[in-house]
Symmetry: C2
Subunit: 337 residues, 2 copies
Amino acid sequence: MSVLHQIKPAPSVNPVERLMAATAEDMARVNALILDRARSHVDMVPELARYLIDSGGKRLRPMLTVAAAQLFGQSQGHAVNFAAAVEFMHNATLLHDDVVDESDMRRGKPAARMVWGNKASILVGDFLLGQAFMMMVETGNVAALGVLSSASAVMAEGEVFQLAKTGDLNTSAEDYAEVIRAKTAVLFEAACRVGAMSGGADASGCDALGRYGLELGNAFQLVDDALDYGGQSGTLGKNVGDDLREGKMTLPVILALQAASDSEKAIIAAALGKADATDLEVHQVVAIFGKYDTLNRTLAKAHEHAAAAIAALAGLPDSEMKTILADVVEHSVGRAS
Amino acid sequence: MSVLHQIKPAPSVNPVERLMAATAEDMARVNALILDRARSHVDMVPELARYLIDSGGKRLRPMLTVAAAQLFGQSQGHAVNFAAAVEFMHNATLLHDDVVDESDMRRGKPAARMVWGNKASILVGDFLLGQAFMMMVETGNVAALGVLSSASAVMAEGEVFQLAKTGDLNTSAEDYAEVIRAKTAVLFEAACRVGAMSGGADASGCDALGRYGLELGNAFQLVDDALDYGGQSGTLGKNVGDDLREGKMTLPVILALQAASDSEKAIIAAALGKADATDLEVHQVVAIFGKYDTLNRTLAKAHEHAAAAIAALAGLPDSEMKTILADVVEHSVGRAS
């Protein structure tokens, strides 16, 4: 951890930047491994994979893996492999999600499927998943392999569940909780848990980090789903209402439908899943959200999960990394205010 | 192997049926595991998965896994898990391939994507892949996990390579050999190799079965690619010419382009990748194949690989199962004559 002491930043710095600084040395290894394993004699594979992987994502998930390993004192072992595998799993999911959601943009530039097509996006996603498993297998850590392979199946199951619930006005808050747990939180959980495992944590340490990751992931997705409608302020901007146009049953919609009058329900139902819904139609729906305070109620739920994430760390010895991990949670729910 | 002696069929019986009889007891366990692991609280997952899995495929790949384990005397261990995992990997590939190839039919009925849509097919494929890895991980056999995860990445890479070469008139016979090795033969190789590993084979036994699977897979795909144009006879029937309409650069086309006159090349090029090519256009292309004997030359190549598959078994002790495995090779190349 010597590097930490050299570059220890002031606490006022953005917590994600502090996490980046604290994991910079390990992440350099992770990034080298990612580049190496995206190689292929088939040119389209690294071209497409690197287009996505290099497109400016923060690599939060692999950072959490090496951070969790560091927290328990050992990040030079298998954590680097697991971190790269987690990032490949995440990117494979993004490639397939963009095909499934027919998304045009990803991280501010055209989605890979708009450049190389749906077919290549599906197949390169499969390639990244296969490479992820190879990197995990190389560690020989069967318990960690179990955590990650289970996450892989649960994530796909969550995506199918979300697809099945698309536009379903009877979707419950419990259904939604299951969708975000499966499609988002479980990978955060796995990323943190295998980091702790490879860092030498005991069972209670692994459970603490797993719980931290799960709750952070839940909070993260709730905030994303509120931000899709402009966040707390409900301010309309670019891409606001994408989830509405895709018919995604997120918590702001579900809570609104539970409280709305019949005429309000009709307004929501008409816009939900309407790909060419106008900004005015989106605005009308967000106005109903405002009446029933559903964006704030969604964010309040995110804050509950954030508190649970921080509480999960309570039993661990105090350290700089523990503070950073707690602050990252606060920061991630603060995005929407 | 007591069940074998009870039901030992006459050698004249179809070798695949003899393989089915010899592996029936283990395959009952494999099939039960397949049904169990296709379950999900998300209804669409087992519905779609079982629609495909129960659709009358012969389950040749998992049969090879348990047969390879039996060959070395031990099929009660991890072979059942590996066999089910191999079948899940294969079915995940079929789901994604049908989306990529825009196929309407699979095994004589509407493709899953025609019933549940492309989106569900992509995501359930991902689910099956995740479940496959979970079943492998449960064995704790890291070496076998390495074989199967590597196969998974290579298969996807092969599919991307095939996609990149679609309609490319300069595709060489070497390119084609690489495509069929990666997209088909490597899973046969892995299926046989992990079967041998879980059956207790030593390194040379594992290598022999791996080589057997690889060569059988190559022969199998060459025959499929000749059959797509009617096989040796070049007889046109239902679905003949699908590969041509999809622009797939298979060996019959590649060999024809190498030998054809400019006007013949123009006829092939015009039909290649033309989704609505008429039967007459396909017939004109097959006539050019006939002139240069490319279907027979493709089948001759299949016979070379078949001979190599049988030769791979030569060093192993004689047994009923060894005879069946050799006869299965002969049978699979005999399909096209």
